[in-house]
Amino acid sequence: MAILLIAEHDNQTLKAATLNTLGAAHHLEGEIHVLVAGAGCTAVGQAVAQLSGVTKVLLCDAPQYAERGAENLAELVRGLAAGYSHVLVPASAEGKNLLPRVAALCDMAQVSDVVGIESTDTFVRPIYAGNALATVKSIDPIKFLSIRTTAFESVGLAGTAAAVETIAAGPELGLCKLVDRELTRSERPELGAAKIIVSGGRGLGSGDNYRRVLEPLADKLGAALGASRAAVDAGFVPNDFQVGQTGKIVAPQLYLAVGISGAIQHLAGMKDSKVIVAINKDPDAPIFQVADYGLVADLFEAAPALTQAI
């Protein structure tokens, strides 16, 4: 049996999360087929065909997949799923939105946020905000898995190209329409894929302070910017900056937490980072319990000094 992976893209470029999901698929057995569904997405299909381990690309190019709504996509994937042992998506906003719908249409369970693959039917996943790890065995014939991308290596190019097969589109259900999409534009690396993340919390006090103190530091380090829930709720930064249990899960080489106290929900999103640095004026802040290097200091002095020193 083969594995079906659903590629995430914006009709022009493939999202990095798909490369890690492919890395997870390499831990399973069988050919790997990748579905590229979109509108005007041929270039994405060709790019996917170059990736290591991909044996076939299923290209489905139709207007109803342009905005990647779950309803139409789920119908399409439901029709394909029967021929596969596993169906994989990244555990991104899109993957989380789509895969449960497909699994339910097939009357099968989904395993969310897989961080370990023990065998073809047994998987490890975090529960309780990562405070426990559960090993679960799926007894359904098709395993629907959303993959926590930070837990798997990303996959590179193969050197040869897999076949690209064009497949027929499913129905346009007409259930839903995209009205608007406001994506944060940034020259900085994507939060999920960044090597270094500078993240700010309530301690910054305002959006102006956040930008004034953290942007120069992030610029100097070539880092992505993140935030705690408190900073997002207070309106310092947009929602897509949030790192945590219900925001983005990150695992960069260096995570610099500035003015973040370290609620367990935040730690759940960043504790797999290689090196964690915390700057906080409260020596009892829980963030220091997970930090490799803690600096007890006023962030308004320490962060600019750090920017100067590197």
Binding site: E94, M108, S112, Y128, L133, A134, L175, D180, V232, T246
Partner: protein, 249 residues
């Protein structure tokens, strides 16, 4: 228009999670339990829609053990009109819950279901999407703003790159994100009133739903602990460590 709001009884979000020594699960004995926070946001949203005159009735539904009636009373105290407990001692997984909710929807005929986007115990983030699939309805997940008018819901969703706005045809399933609203505290008079509101009890067999689990939990362990590192004295020492000791900058 009737709204159905599923609510789940979970370990209180402030309680420290303890894994059982035998690796069979998380220890919930005598622990403080409460309503899943995302579900509180869902109840609040439904009640606000009722207060705005958009919705005529808010029905809260909980699937689980008998004590789940407590979270239904909480939903009633926030302002839901009545509660339905689908009582079961089984390990109810998302697909089973979605199938139970589908059966309740078939009986109740709501035009809208508002769910929490995930429960903070199993962190699955599946039930709302699965319910929408089983009903054949549209879905708007991770909502941070909801407007209902003219038979459709306009929903602002929190997605990876920012925000997107969807227009979904009703009936639909909406799942709530953190910033949709701030749930009110139930006042004492409302808690007293909630005790008198109707609460029906059903069971999976009566709804004709097979709830047998599809995932078998083999073991539950604590993750490897990250040990606290060192406290550096100043910025210079921090830079020295990052450059020379761990070489990440």
């Amino acid at each position: 228009m009737k709204v159905l709001v599923p609510v789940k009884r979970v370990l209180d979000y402030n309680v420290k999670v303890r894994v059982k020594a035998d690796g069979s699960g998380v220890d919930l004995a005598n622990a403080k339990m409460g309503m899943n926070p995302f579900d509180e946001i869902a109840v609040e949203e439904a009640v606000r829609l009722k207060e705005a005159g958009v919705v005529s009735e808010v029905v809260a539904v909980s699937c689980g053990v008998a004590a789940s009636a407590e979270v239904l009373r909480t939903a009633l105290a926030i302002g839901a009109d009545r509660g339905i407990l689908v009582q079961s001692d089984a390990d109810l997984q998302p697909l089973a819950v979605a199938r139970l909710l589908k059966a309740v929807c078939d009986r109740e005929g709501p035009a809208l279901v508002i769910c929490g986007k995930q429960a903070i115990d199993d962190d699955a983030n599946q039930t709302g999407q699965m319910l929408a699939a089983l009903l054949g309805w549209s879905q708007a997940t991770f909502a941070s703003k909801v407007t209902i008018a003219d038979g459709q819901a306009t929903v602002v969703r929190e997605v990876d790159g920012g925000l997107e706005t969807l227009a979904v045809r009703l009936p639909a399933v909406i799942t709530t994100d953190l910033r949709l609203n701030e749930p009110r505290y139930a006042t004492l008079p409302n808690i007293m009133k909630a005790k008198k509101k109707p609460l029906d009890t059903l069971d999976p067999a009566g709804l004709g739903v097979d709830v047998s689990p599809r995932l078998v939990t083999l073991k539950v362990v604590e993750p490897a602990k990250r040990s606290a590192g060192i406290v550096v004295s100043d910025v210079a020492q921090l830079v020295e460590k990052l450059k020379n000791e761990v070489k990440v900058i």
